[in-house]
Amino acid sequence: MTALFLRDLKLSIRAGGGALIGVLFFLTIVAVIPFGVGPDLKLLSRIGPAIVWIGALLAALLGLDRLFQAERDDGSLDLMLMQETPLVLTVLVKCLAHWTATSLPLVIASPLLGLFMNMDEAAIGATMLTLLVGSPAITFIGAVGAAVAVALPRGGLLVSILVLPLTIPVLIFGVSATYAAVEDPAPFLPPFLILTALTLFFTVIGPAAAALALRNTAD
């Protein structure tokens, strides 16, 4: 399984020059935003956490849809399906590798972005923490979509309908936990705990559902 993890990591790093890419991508998005909203620093720092979260969502989605399709196209998926190791485990490891390659660098870089967006320390810390806890959920949800994409070669529409709406709760609790940490009245813990619960839930459901879909692949 470590072999699979390392291979997937290598693949995503070979593809684009390394972990820095994720960070660079994020930086680019953040550089684009102020052009849209205008250079109002107060406003920027207020929408900052939401922007960082949306950036993380987009980064996780780019390339996620080919998580299993690439394996199917070159025939590796067949061999993985035939193994004794439970398929759920294989899916889980692939998801973790994807998360490590694309989302983790973002989590690590998020303080830097917070600075750019003029956020204060508490907000930066909260963003980083919620991202760390919440972003795996996005990957796991995406994995279900990726598996469905393999099972139904013409199911493009279904995948998007499946994945994006499911990520909305994660996004909402992630962002609201961050704001709760900054603005006094709202307590931080409840939304954060819900976010944690969501991640745990999808850690179990996501790979299981993905494995189920893969087993039922059309051919």
């Binding site: 680019t28 550089a31 620093l41 920027l44 750019f116």
Partner: protein, 255 residues
């Protein structure tokens, strides 16, 4: 084998890295020496001149900020010219030049960004604003990094060179945006006061150290660029010889 290498030696006359290496070996010491002298003079001048009545001591930041900003744009321009050389004439030195320039450009852009920030805090009261000039320079920085990453992601050097060349050329639109951003949008940043059609609008008191520093930075850039090009040529030569050695070894084993 012998006839193929004969045929290929004709190619190498077209663009001779060996000649470049000889030339580089001759001029690098001179360039380095003059650069050091210019820096000495420039540093002396920049601390000897008076401070500005408005900006006080901080005006001295100008003597590095402005040359660094100019160089960040000049470096990209040089890369664009090299890109044309790669695409149109397929000159092998052109792609070496573009590849060697990218990290230098990134360094100078970083310098302009950081010194600008350090200047902005006392002058504008903030490290960073998202105005057109500042952001376009930031975008330039990102483009340098992106090009470096692209160069690493493609392992066939000649293919990498051609693909990067296309992107360099497309990215050139950013240079006029940087240059004219202060005129097209009203921003916090100073508008052009030295490089203007109707002559500089700056006190010669400041102009003198600025020019000396600009020359020093430019010379530094060229020194480093030639050195980096030489390194890149060596790197490719080593790779070619390694491959040759590996093949020779294989041949001997087989026979």
């Amino acid at each position: 084998m012998s006839q193929t290498s004969l045929a290929i030696s004709k190619f190498s006359d077209l663009a001779n890295p060996t000649r470049f290496l000889a030339l580089a070996a001759r001029i690098i010491p001179w360039l380095a020496g003059i650069t050091a002298l210019c820096f000495a003079a420039g540093l002396y001048l920049s601390f000897a001149t008076e401070g500005d009545y408005q900006q006080g001591e901080t005006v001295r930041i100008m003597y590095i900020h402005v040359p660094a900003a100019w160089l960040s744009m000049m470096c990209y321009t040089i890369m664009s010219v090299s890109a044309i050389g790669t695409l149109v004439w397929r000159h092998p030195l052109a792609d070496v030049s573009a590849k060697a320039a990218a990290p230098l450009g990134a360094a100078f852009t970083l310098l302009a960004l950081v010194t600008g920030s350090l200047w902005g805090k006392p002058m504008w009261g903030t490290w960073w604003v998202w105005d057109a000039r500042l952001t376009s320079v930031f975008v330039l920085f990102l483009m340098y990094l992106g090009l470096i990453a692209l160069g690493r992601a493609i392992d066939d050097p000649s293919k990498a060179a051609r693909v990067s060349a296309v992107l360099i050329l497309v990215g050139f639109v950013n240079i006029p945006i940087i240059k004219f951003s202060v005129e097209w949008w009203n921003t916090l940043h100073q508008s052009a006061s030295v490089l203007r059609l109707d002559g500089p609008a700056i006190d010669p008191e400041f102009l003198r150290p600025l020019f000396v520093m600009a020359i020093a930075f430019t010379l530094l850039f060229f020194t480093l660029h030639i050195m980096a090009m030489r390194n890149e040529i060596w790197r490719r030569r080593i790779a070619a010889q390694r491959r040759l050695a590996a093949r020779m070894a294989n041949r001997e084993e087989q026979t």
